[in-house]
Symmetry: D3
Subunit: 329 residues, 6 copies
């Protein structure tokens, strides 16, 4: 697991007013034991709590108490997912970072969860690293797997989640070889035997035609084809999948699987399912990586054991039987 | 400027298939000069190109050629914003990172731009670090400033954009002091004179009542009040701002400014403007930080000077007079 | 029960053409026994039939026959709710008045019925006298009670319906005392013991703060608080009710009830119920008092025992088993 | 003008809490001079202010001050239409009555205004007494005339507004005579010469056929016909008016006017205008009488000359140059 | 049954490119046995297959094989309804004609089917010949009967479907006689006894009045009345049917049926049913005759026994158990 | 021009009641000179009046008078487009045929007109014969040309309109040849030189690839390509047209035109125009052939010179300056 970045530990990414608050309380000699509760603004899948734990382990004293829901747990709007009881000076500065870790990761995991539910039993792979900043690409792919994806395309993300990354081949490679079959044959020649041979079949010619050409060239060694038809050509349609399936079967290649990528989202997967398209796997990009974060809020609910709250909130801790006491490793 | 992370330079956050492509082409002895063009999927404000430049400076050989639009430029859907001409082996692995840097940052800058346009001449400050992962919090705040925000709340983001961060005080500080006036007085006592005194006035009592209490306590030293009424109490409304303004004026505090935060977004700002609410500044959080990334795509358009393209795209480079040739520093 | 106004008995509020008709028929020596049937244009709750009865008792000869549905009965569009058989000269002039008595009252009762159904088991009180002409305020409140309201705010309306009126205190009283607690204490001091002490708690300070203050001041003698937050402050929200409930309970005042008023209508009550807000009573104003009247129509269906009708209607009486023969008191 | 009813003067139609307030203030010896301002919730035509004046004249002491907009004035949402400065004890009890007098009348006048605007230059007559309680029938018809109607059908309403009432004949009279021509001849025989002869022509036969029959029977003495086709027969349509006009003209009766009634509302009048139907007058019923009241609100804004307001309102009087100082007659 | 028109057999109505194809294939000496399959673009009722059979009988050699669904069968979108296996030269030219025969007729039959379903058990008669070109009037009426209509108005259409045509009388006849009763009496005098006497009752006077007049004139010989009120008079309404029924029953003519025509369509029939109007038969015109055709497509799926298809279709025949082998008469 | 069919002249396609009317009038010895006026139910392009003229020329006596709008004239709803004055017996029977001739043809011409307006200056060709009954295919194509189409696909339709038909090649021919280039070469070899060589390029391979292949095979003799991508492959998109245009231009074939067919309708053409797709011609099928007919109505308006009308219509002729007196050839 990567360490917590220095900029986070120094509070450089914290909102300025937390710095000021720490300074003022220090000068006033105020440092009560407080209880903070954190909750999401909408329903979803909690993700990022592992990373929060690593941050808390680095900053909290040993007498601090923490309760939380486990990574990947479903959560309801306004349900308490994390409760911290410690002196304010030990963690007040990290409120911004804690909320931010949960916000993005839970947003991605929640989107992935909905898509995986819609697609099942067909597996979904996260392909969206190209749509987020590389500083969080690994976290995004990890969250997608927490949300239910089988695995992802980047080594960094797969390592975080304890999975093997996966991938096929980019259009660039086929363009450089100048022919799909030549590119696939080179792939087959140089890749280790445990890498599945999956041919991208929409670069130069009609998808069904290319699918048959690569199947004839590789025979039993071809594991599958990937359809990624661009929107300029009408995207991958359920009928295209059916036709490629039928043509592969008629030509004696029933073992060749069909993977679909390119603008795949919830609506698209529901369409493929409704129309009975024989898809063997989906690659999903911005429908997961571009999911909106889920906003989290942290509220002080007790000060030195006394219930308190700002206007609009109910003073005192909010009971939640699902919370688990955190034990430091 | 922070350096490009090692995980990016080693390709750890790249899609697996780029690793495989690099390996296969190396074994086949293929390494042509290629031209890649990169374009967004929708209109917006380009952001992240500075960071891309730093990555390219670290990896490209000196005979490589690069053209780009400047940071902060408006861009149209499918317009070429970046063109790279170099041997494929020198940059093919970084396609994921380049696209990702542009995707998130341009999404944030574009959202900020729309909100700032709607609010002007009233300034907007980015407050959303708590809603994104801290690994990209600085980039998000930087992008918000590129999109037009006056400044932001985190030191890291403000430093990236060459600005001073800003902030008021959190509810936690007021809760710990147990009274808004006491907290504001402590803030006034300990903060350096160049920090504006802005009191958060919705924690314990009615906003108008608290605004008058802090104005009477600090007199001319009070620079402004911040209204952050939670949704449980109906959020900040245009009428509330008008009333607080009127009560402050009637009590002899016309110099005290009014800042509005809490769920502020495009629709909300348009409502405040339409109703003529006398707002002096907005703090905007998830309406910027939660903006969806803008997907970018990279296409090979020439190989060894010959136009090429995959199906669905037009072979050869796409002219764009607005592109500027990149000169290495 | 008030007497039928002279202006009605003299026909001063009758349409002019009924006067002319009476004059012409008299001069022609025509005065047949006719049967008139009256029906509503839409479904609802019949109200006003008591008042019609009083009018008929004052004008009809003893051999006249009348059938009707009882006050408060549900009725269907076009269902006959009243049938009068008498010489035309004895009641023709009162058609305008009879239809009008039923129109407004049935409109109010129908609206009240829907609101009461939505709110149950929480009681609803009619507060809308300020929204109708005082000449009909009593009838409106009476109709609201026929439709299911527990009682109403005006003595005149309550008397008509045989109920005790109810009420709390207006904003004006609190403004004059200058402080909610002082006003409530004065109320408590001077009101007879059987009047429930209900404090209005949104005049000067935050609702939750005021609720606690009046609870502390009156202790067990406080029966409830009324929330009437204006729209400028976001109206009463379900979360506000929950918070006030929690703060009262935490402070040891679980016996204090919470009443909600201010723009309460069908949608609002459904929202409170859906969100589980612990409301103990609703005060409803213009959602009842502003209900559109239900138009009624009167048709001659027999003349001297012979079926007749104008074009568009079916000649002869329309059977309705639910009608009851009217017996004069 | 009728006197203010005793039940209003005694406060019998006032909300109970005003009684209590009066009692309490009296016992406390509190009776400040207060300023109350009254404003509507939406745009419209102010009506009822004459009646309010009569009430105020009966209850206010001579040193009271009152400002108001004149009867029939257009008013904007939240514009102050009435301001009363006097000891609270002298008028606090009448708040319910004042608001109610304005609410219904302004609602009717506003609806009438819109309909009259749409119909002009064709005159509109108020026919809706049958759709409201007879106790308010005269006020409704008066308000309709304030809103722009030429006159109305009830003597009481017309007298209030200083107009002559108008009318034709009911279906009942024709049904009793058994033939439209016979009824019209009787009407012609017995009515004074200054009453316009307008025949209702949809009772027994086709409207065009009856129109010609009555025109032939009365010749030059026929002033007009009224079309009132019921919805069971498709209502009066623009084409029917055109056809009746054409048939009357072809038969030599161009002087006979055509009046339209029966479900006439704003949309219907716009339809007739758009289609160019040659209508000479409209009778409008529930589209005016069933108009929703306009809610009015009264706020105390000064007590003993000092600005004050409840939360959500701005303390002190709200300037309005259009207000006129009331001089007692 | 009429013969297939010469212009069809000569291919004069065929798309030009089929001519060219035939010519080119002939010159190339190419004439394989091909299998063509034909399917509709949406669900509906198949109609026109009889006529297609007559065309095929005229052109196909005896060794050709044909499978089809029967006339009037329900069919699903994309279901194969016709399969032809023969040398291409023998039927390729007729693809346009075959598809066209099915397109219009199936469109009409499908619309009729929906209307008949909605109306049942009340019978529906096709009246729409006036809304289509007379060259196809007979096919349209035939298709309407295949779709479920009881019969139709034109002798040509009825003959095609083996039915007796039906009809009443046009407005023109009544206008010429100058009186409905006179026209009906003439009809009764001259028509053979087996023709039902159905009077059109909306020409000169009110429908109910005329219905009674013709019933009194013809007595038991009157079979029914037809209501055809034009839109200028509000069309036939459910209430009009109820009233005419009631007036006929009250006058002793319960045996007289009521037929409704004039703008009758699916929505209208559903309205009549919902309102319980006692209709004895509907005459439907443009709701059937103006139905959009159902597009059919013909695909070659085998050539000399080998599966084939154009892109987008699956090669080889598509199984359909419902197809019946065609046996030449 | 084809002759009017016997079935029309004998009245076999007339509504039965016209036969009966004729019979009855004859027996009564009634045969007045009548004036019938015919008008459409909605705005559009008049078509079919030539054919009506031929029918009238065959049946009317020489003293009959006829006025009409010319073929192709724009017409307004309810505008008189045809007026016939003659003895009823000479044309009463043909009312069904006359209305039907105008209904379908005007529907088609009106739809074509809208599509041609949207496409201009790009020409539109009618391809829809396959979607209507072959008995009316020629009239449909003729009407499409009256509405503005350049020409059509069937010889019969083109002949009616005095045009040359046009066409390319069907998928069937290419499937039989087994290769697009072979089929196109055969076409080129055998077709006369004045036939444009237009290759259909979506049968076996990617459209852009096939377009280049046929261009290379035929060189300057290739006039154009036709894109007809089926919906299973996303239909023809604006981007596909742009790409094929770019690839043809890059390969040195700027002279090759691009024609688009397959589900082309008004919305689709507007999309192509909005996106700037370089289309050289559209083939439109069911968007014209499936257009709903425009209903026409015929009314008797004079009998022996005396104004008359049925209920709902205004007696006497309706003036229309645009009508032209018909002079027999």
């Amino acid at each position: 697991m990567p360490n917590i970045a220095d900029a986070i530990l120094t509070g450089d990414t914290a909102d300025l007013y937390f710095h000021r608050t720490r300074e003022i309380l220090r000068r006033e000699g105020l440092d009560p034991v407080v209880t903070m509760e954190i909750f999401p603004s909408r329903d979803g899948i909690l993700c990022g709590i592992h990373e929060v734990t690593r941050l808390l382990a680095a900053v909290l004293p040993h007498d601090a108490q923490v309760w939380m829901l486990p990574e990947g747990a479903p959560m309801r709007a306004k349900e308490i997912v994390l409760r911290i009881r410690a002196r304010y000076s030990t963690f007040g500065l990290y409120e911004t970072a804690i909320l931010g870790m949960l916000a993005s990761s839970s947003g991605w995991a929640t989107a992935a969860h909905r898509i995986v539910q819609a697609a099942q039993p067909v597996p979904v792979i996260s392909f969206g690293a190209r749509h987020v900043h590389p500083n969080v690409a690994a976290q995004m792919e990890y969250a997608a797997i927490i949300g239910g994806c089988s695995t992802c395309a980047t080594p960094a993300g797969a390592r975080l989640a304890g999975k093997q990354p996966t991938g096929t081949m980019p259009h660039a490679m086929i363009l450089i070889f100048g022919d799909t079959v030549r590119a696939v044959q080179a792939f087959d020649k140089w890749m280790p035997p445990d890498v599945n041979r999956i041919a991208l079949v929409d670069t130069f010619r009609d998808e069904a035609e290319e699918a048959l050409r690569v199947a004839q060239a590789l025979g039993d060694r071809l594991w599958g084809v990937r359809l990624d038809t661009p929107s300029e050509r009408g995207r991958v349609t359920p009928d295209l999948v059916k036709e490629v399936r039928a043509r592969l079967d008629q030509a004696g290649f029933p073992h060749v699987k069909i993977f679909v990528s390119g603008g795949v989202d919830l609506e698209r997967i529901e369409l493929f399912k409704r129309e009975g398209a024989p898809v063997d796997g989906y690659g999903v990009g911005s429908a997961i990586s571009g999911a909106p974060p889920i906003d989290f809020t942290g509220d002080l609910k007790e000060i030195e054991g006394k219930p308190i709250a700002k206007r609009g909130r109910i003073p005192g801790i909010t009971p939640n039987d699902r919370l688990q006491k955190w034990e430091r490793a």
